[in-house]
């Protein structure tokens, strides 16, 4: 074997170094805010820079004393779980039907819905949506927010779940039918359990979407008692009108915990994997 030409060796090292530098920069870009999220809440005087904190739990104490902070986490959970219930139930039924029944123009319909779904919860729709909610008397109710969020998320969920349902062999259902199972029983005994990883994935995805949504609850919910965490965080100012970083940093950490917890819970309970059947 002959040694590689010196020029190509140099080029090799330069490209390695450049690669490592880029990777480190990208990693730092994502790691810095996360580091801030972990350190700032425990700092006696948090700033917007990452630094070694002067350890204290005072920020959490003042957070607990805030009348709206913890309640808003509860509100976020109500909105998230409510939307999951609506979206997963309706989405699973719609996806199953669309996967199994032949309708002319089915795929066109799905793509059209997917395209239009961003309009429902989009900024441009906020004024008509607000007026609609006032008209039907759902303004300033969590039901209204859940319905609006569901409307925005359902097309995507139907799209994802339909793909998932398509991958479930029909012979499972036909087999159950032959033993006399009615459609409801087939759905409960066979389709839902087999589609469970897909349903679990969609639930977590919906929760994340609702949890982080600011605009919709900000516009539709007027009283601070019913506003979710993402909106309440917006109200944390000091008397002098500056962002109250000690409250915001502590709240940010509390804010992110439930989502992470639910991810692990769902992952352990249902698992993001496919059952080991014969999958043709």
């Amino acid at each position: 074997m002959s040694a590689p030409a010196p020029r190509s060796t140099v080029r090799h090292y330069v490209s390695r170094v450049a690669f490592v530098v880029v990777v480190v920069l990208v990693a730092a870009f994502f790691a810095l805010p996360l580091t801030w999220l972990v350190t700032a809440p425990f700092d006696a005087s948090p700033t917007l820079t990452v630094e070694w904190p002067q350890w204290t739990l005072a920020n959490f104490r003042s957070l607990a004393e805030n009348p709206y902070a913890l309640r808003s986490i509860g509100n976020s959970l109500v909105l998230g779980l409510g939307t999951i219930a609506v979206v997963v139930t309706l989405g699973a039924l719609a996806a199953y039907a669309l996967s199994r029944v032949r309708i002319p123009g089915r795929d066109g319909l799905l793509y059209a819905l997917l395209l239009l779904s961003s309009v429902v919860t989009g900024t441009a729709a906020m004024v008509p949506l607000f007026q609609l909610m006032v008209q039907v008397g759902l303004i300033n109710t969590q039901t209204g927010v859940v319905l609006a969020m569901s409307g925005g998320l359902l097309p995507t969920v139907v799209f994802i779940l339909k793909d998932f349902m398509d991958s479930i062999p029909k012979s499972y259902e036909e087999s159950a039918r032959l033993y006399g199972a009615r459609p409801g029983q087939i759905l409960r005994h066979v389709v839902v359990p087999i589609a469970r990883p897909g349903l679990a994935f969609v639930s977590v995805w919906v929760l994340v979407q609702v949890w982080g949504n600011f605009l919709l609850p900000f516009i539709l919910l007027r009283s601070p008692e019913s506003q979710p965490a993402a909106v309440i965080m917006y109200t944390f100012y000091t008397e002098s009108g500056q962002a109250d970083l000690s409250l915001i940093s502590a709240f940010s950490l509390v804010f992110s915990v439930p989502v992470i917890a639910i991810y692990f819970l769902v992952n352990r309970r249902y698992g993001f994997r496919f059952h080991g059947g014969i999958k043709s």
């Binding site: 012979s171 087999s175 006399g180 029983q185």
Partner: protein, 357 residues
Amino acid sequence: MSTITTRGLVKEYPGGVRGVDGFDVTIEDGEFFALLGPSGCGKTTLLRSIAGLEAITEGTLHIGDRDVTNAQPGERGVAMVFQDYALFPHMDVADNIAYPLKIRKVPRTQRRQRADEVGAGLALHGLSERRPGQLSGGQQQRVALARAVATQPEVLLLDEPLSNLDARLRLEARTFLKVLQRDLKVTTVFVTHDQAEALALADRIAVMQSGRLQQLGAPHEVFQRPVNTFVASFIGSNPMNLVTTTVTQAGVRLGDGAVRLPETAAGLVAPGDEVVWGARPEYLRWSVERLDDAVEARVEVVENLGASVLLTATVGDHRLQVVVPEEDAPAAGARGWVQANARRSLLFDPRTTELIG
């Protein structure tokens, strides 16, 4: 335990394609019945129509004395084993076997007991806690069979029961199926594209092509006396030799010589008639020395089949395949004589492709 009777059964798909086109058959009580044909011949469609998974377009279907043409699948008393077995991946073996009983609202303890009973009969000891994904192909098939027979159905339907198993296991499972069916005495219909499987397992075989019944008969009938050239070429591990030729005074012309007229065709053809002469490679005799009523041939290809050898030889412009015992195998290029068994050869009409005799 029941007979299955179809009268003029038609399954037409939207667009006018007929999967099954006018099917008349009576499958006897306790019979092991094969639907055999190439892919797309409508055999699976017919099976699914019997199961109720496909709506019947025309004609009637009776199971026992009941007209079940429009009955729901669950009301027909049929059980089916799917080609992919369709075992529920989220249930263990016992729950899978007991699922039909769950639908019938049998209490849980009784269900487990029945599942264990049926499982034990199908060599599934100690597997009742496993998930289908943890079983071998043969075990999965037995679980699917156990689930199908757990409710003692009147009719058992099997869709390509052996196709998902590897070659060695397939032979084992074939014998197992035959014994199981004999013990249960349940009317069984199975679909296969493998003629050897059909010959080995079935009491009677229906050979299908393009949605139509070609021939219905016991394995030996279908093998010995195919009603047309399609059945003749489809049945048999080595396809039947089919030669388009003419009848002469001496017999049937083959190359420069002639073989004896098939016995069953005597008196049905006259010299000068154009015919298709058919003889199975197993029923042709190869000899190095000249024989009576034999034609001279030259060996082109020699294929070893283990205990025997398959020769491809040319006689004039025709190619004949001959199965020869291993010890008599000639080499490629050798010359010899092919003699036909007059009792085991047939004549077909070249225009209608139907059997003359």
